[in-house]
Structure formats: C-alpha cells, structure tokens
Symmetry: C2
Subunit: 335 residues, 2 copies
C-alpha cells in the first residue's frame, strides 16, 4: 500500500462533491494530490481542503492518467464519459451517478457486499448505490442474519437536496415567496413545492416509474437477489431541504423477533436505533455518519411483518460516506 | 320527510366544524335552526351561516332535545359524553371523533357501505371514519368490482391540520422563526416540525402504533373485512399545512388490469384521476369535493400489485363532506 494516492473528484462543487471533499479531509484519507473538477460555470470556483483553497479545474481539460482513483459525482452522461476516459488511463472509478451499472460497474455497498471487492482487476469501475438504496440496503444487511425477507415495500419521502443545490434553492425561494405573499414562480420544479408533497422525483416512464425508483429497485435487487420479485418502491418529494426519510414494510418468512432485530441493529456500526422516541433528519441524522432507525414494530395482525422508519443524511451518509468507504476498502486491498 | 330539521354542530370552531358549517350552507342542506356549540374559550365566538352571524353556544348548557341530529367534531371524550346525552334525548348523532366505535356506533362511509343505514332504529349513532381511512376506503370501494385486494399497505403523509388549528399555527410559527433566524421554540409539537418529516402523529402504544393508525386499521377492517389480516398502516407528518397524501400498495388476487382500474375510478363520482400528470394537495385537492388519484402503476415485477397516490383535502373532503353525506342519506331515508 502506497503512503498516499492521487485522487480526482468530478462534480466537486455539488452537494455530494462537497461532502466527499469534507470526508476525505475529516477521515485523514491518504490523499496525495487532490484534483477537484467540474463542468461549465462551476469550474474556476475554489474549495477549501486541508487549510488550502483548491481551484476547481475544468473536467474537459483533465488527464485521468494523473490519478489512480476518481470519484464521479455528476450527471449520468458526464459520469459515463469520465469513467471511460479514466479506465482507459488506468484510473479506478467510484461512480455515484448510476451510469456505471450495466456498463461493467459492480454495484457495491461496503455494509452489504464488500466481498465483491475481493479480487477486482485494476483499474476497477465501481458503482456506488444511490442514497436511498444504500440506506435501505444497510438496514437489510444488518438484519440479514435475523430475518428472511420475502417482500419489501419502500416508501421514500426525499428532500430538495435530491435535486441538487438548485433544488434546495428552489424550495427556499418558493417558501420565501409564499411567506412574503409574493407571486409564486416555480422554476426548477414545475409547480408549488413549498408546503406541498410531490408524488414523484422527475418524470416517469411508460410503466409509471421514475428513473430514481428504477435505480433503487435495480440496486436493491443486485445487492439482495432474493428480493428481486418482492420489491415495491415509491419515491415522493417532501418540502424539506435535506435528508432522506424511508418507511419500510417487510414481509418475512418466519415471525419477526423484535428483540433479535434490535440486537442486530445495535451490533451494526453504521446504524443507530431510537427506542423510546423516533428519529428525524433535522433532530438526529443531519451531519452524521450513522443512519437512524425508529418506529420498529411488527404488523398490525401479521407477526411475519416488520415496519420501520429510517432518517438519514442523504448527501453525507447515503452518498458521500459510502463512496469514501468504498475507496478505503479499495486502497486497503489494492491501490 | 320534514321540510327542515334542527341540527347541532359540536366543535363548530374547529377546522372540520367550520367546514361542516360551510358545506351545510353550500349544499342547501335542509337545516331549520342550526346550533353551533363548543367548549371552553371557543364558546362565544361567532360564525357566519347563510348571511347571519351565529353565536357559538357553550356545549355544557345545551339541551340535545332541541335538535334531531348532531354532528360531533370534537375530542373523543367530549364526543362520547355528547353522544350519550344526544341519544338519551332522541337526537341522532354523526360522530367524527372515533369515540362511537365500539360503543354501538356503526362505522359508515357513504361511498362504501351506505346500505348499513338501511334500517337503523332512531335515534341512531353513526361513526364517520377518520379522513385518511375514508379516503382510502373511497378508492377501495371504487375498485371493489375490478380487484380482489388481499393485502394493502398505506403510507400516509398527513399535514399540520390533523393536529387541528393549533397544528397549523405551530407549523407557521416554526417556519417563520426559522426563516427569520429566530430561536426555534417548539410548543404543540415537541421538536422542529418546519422543514422536517415527523415519523408519527402523537404518541404510540406498546406495540408501536399511534391511535390514528389504530383507528384507520379498525375502520378499514370494518368497512372491508377481507382486509383485516392484510393491512399495514403508517401515518407520518409532513411539514405541510393542509391535505392528506396517501401512498397505497395493494396486492391483488389476480393480475391488475390498469385499464379496468382506470375505468372504475372514472366511473366513481367522488374521485378524479390524473393520467399524464400527478395530483398534489395544493395544485388540485384543496377546497374540492373530490379526491385525486395518480401514479397508477402495477408492481415493478409483480403484475398482481397496484400502486397509487392519493391527494385529498382532509378537512373538507375526508372529514366534513363524508359527514354531511351521511346526514343527507339519513334525512332522505328517515329523519
């Protein structure tokens, strides 16, 4: 293992890109030179890292041969092109965009299937799951030895941050317009989002599913093949700035022992459960490296049912931390 | 049928009580004398009805022998006491509080089981379902002939209005405090509710269910006994002022025909479905006498699964209109 490795972060000015840089700094990640990259107007900005201001370079000018690992936190199109360039230059890739699935990218979540990283040939192209899939998967992985899940229904109430920084700004602007009795002018979202629940994130396909729901289903099915036929996923958008809320209803093969479930969650490093109270994003999860679980309960009449609530910082815990953990595994074993 | 009947509204100053009075007026309900009643400080206020200001009387001074029908839109305790007094005085009761269930009150929803009102002996004590149960039941009733539902998972994102007028004020105050960078002082809700999803409405029992979830399950089981063993209910609270959002996932006995589902919803008077867009509370449902359905889709892999989204005005459509419809049925047949 070398002492340090040179790294690129593509999409460094986005919410997740920023969180990636923060985590690399906080965790004393063995970064040699850090290249921050973006497209369009975001190139040229500067971002603080270890006491210095790093200038964000233009992605189109970057030579991936300079680094051994690149985080791709950008749109699927840009990530796809960058992943190809990086791999051709011998640079391994951790792709947060979803673009690498079906293109040779292993979907890997450290808490669920780290063993997939046991023998990759370098460079390797790894796909990190989207935040809500990673959050659900982390809970499922923790419960793997105490429950045999045959059916899982996930209802997600996502936040403005799933639309990126512009989503957060849209909600803030709309809220201020309403509270100041100014005319509402929806821009990024095509209707009133402030104080209103939206039924979907982005457009839906002919079968009625959004790309995010498809991605969640694809990733959860890849991580837990037994769930492939028993998965139901809904992603709605709540008028909340940050964080993911996920309400899960699981049907299991035998009766659920809440005691065993609690013990398994307790033993899981990345999960904190609240027993006498319920967790929320703002009160508990934001800025944390753990995801919060609460409202554990069996079915109303079905003892083979488990219901629970997850609150998580989607940007930090759901996306950036998993990606950094993947990089740590990769470095430990190979780079 | 008499030309008019004298009516009491208990809880006339609450959100639902106000909507009841509005609907009695809008629908040319054959009211003779209308008595508006409340407890505590709310008595003495005045409420407009048919061009006059009616003074809200004190419930404790009221003699139910003066009226033939009373709407009870108040706490369960007050409703229970009022129902007993009213019945003893020969006055029929439509109880919106849930208190009348298990106390001889028939749970009735006009769209689902109006036949229960076929032969009551007067006075009758009728229990109107809570808004989210009524909304789910209306959709299930519309689909009764095209689907055999064996399992239903309901995830509700309710709004501040489920906590009454004080809930709406709490969300408004918290939102303003945050946007003006003043210290947040939670009062009615024990934590930050503005821009935060809360996992439950009120306290939960030893099994982890809130009273509202229990009520929904009880009412849906009473209206659709076949669902009793296959029901899963979660009620969360979104930082939204008004309206109910309900995300349903149904498992059916045969494959779902979306065409048949659409036709059945189309034929249902109280339901409007959106096909190319999704409905929201603010954009569609508020102030309306219909509930809005969207995001109809079969399962990701399971053709015996139907998923859908409901947006409804919980105060008007979910609670008050159903109660007034019950009264209309009662008057038509008996009073």
């Amino acid at each position: 293992m070398p002492e340090t490795i040179d790294i690129a972060v593509v999409g460094a000015t986005g919410l997740v890109g920023e969180a990636l840089v923060e985590l690399l700094q906080e965790r004393d990640f063995p970064v040699g030179t850090l290249y921050l990259l973006a497209t369009g107007e975001s190139a040229g900005k500067s971002v603080a890292f270890r006491g210095r201001n790093l200038r964000v370079g233009n992605l189109s000018d970057f030579d991936f041969a300079k680094v051994r690992l690149a985080f791709l936190s950008t749109t699927a199109d840009v990530a796809q092109a960058s992943a190809e360039q990086a791999m051709a230059a011998g640079c391994s890739v951790i792709d947060l965009s979803g673009a690498s699935q079906g293109a040779g990218g292993l979907p890997v979540l450290p808490a669920a299937n780290a063993e997939l990283l046991a023998q990759p040939s370098l460079p390797v192209r790894i796909s990190a799951p989207c935040a809500p899939a990673a959050e659900v998967a982390e809970v499922l992985a923790a419960l793997r030895n105490v429950l045999k899940v045959r059916q899982l229904s996930v209802t997600a109430c996502l936040s403005a941050s799933v639309l990126g920084r512009e989503g957060v700004q849209e909600l803030a602007r709309q809220t201020a317009e309403l509270l100041n009795a100014r005319p509402l002018e929806p821009k990024l979202v095509d209707r009133q989002y402030a104080f209103n629940m939206l039924a979907q994130v982005g457009a839906v396909d002919e079968q009625g599913y959004s790309a995010l729901e498809r991605r969640m289903a694809r990733e959860l099915s890849a991580l837990f093949p037994a769930l492939r036929e028993g998965l139901s996923v809904t992603c709605s958008l709540a008028p909340v700035f940050f964080g993911d809320v996920l309400m899960l209803s699981l049907k299991t093969e035998g009766p659920v022992s809440l005691e065993a479930v609690r013990a398994a969650l307790e033993a899981s490093e990345g999960i904190e459960q609240l027993e006498d109270d319920y967790p929320t994003v703002i009160g508990d999860a934001l800025g944390q490296d753990t995801l919060y679980v609460g409202r554990l309960r069996t079915g109303l009449t079905d003892s083979c049912e488990l219901n629970l609530w997850i609150a998580s910082d989607n940007v930090r815990k759901g996306a950036a931390l998993n990606a950094v953990n993947l990089a740590e595994l990769l470095i430990k074993h190979y780079l």
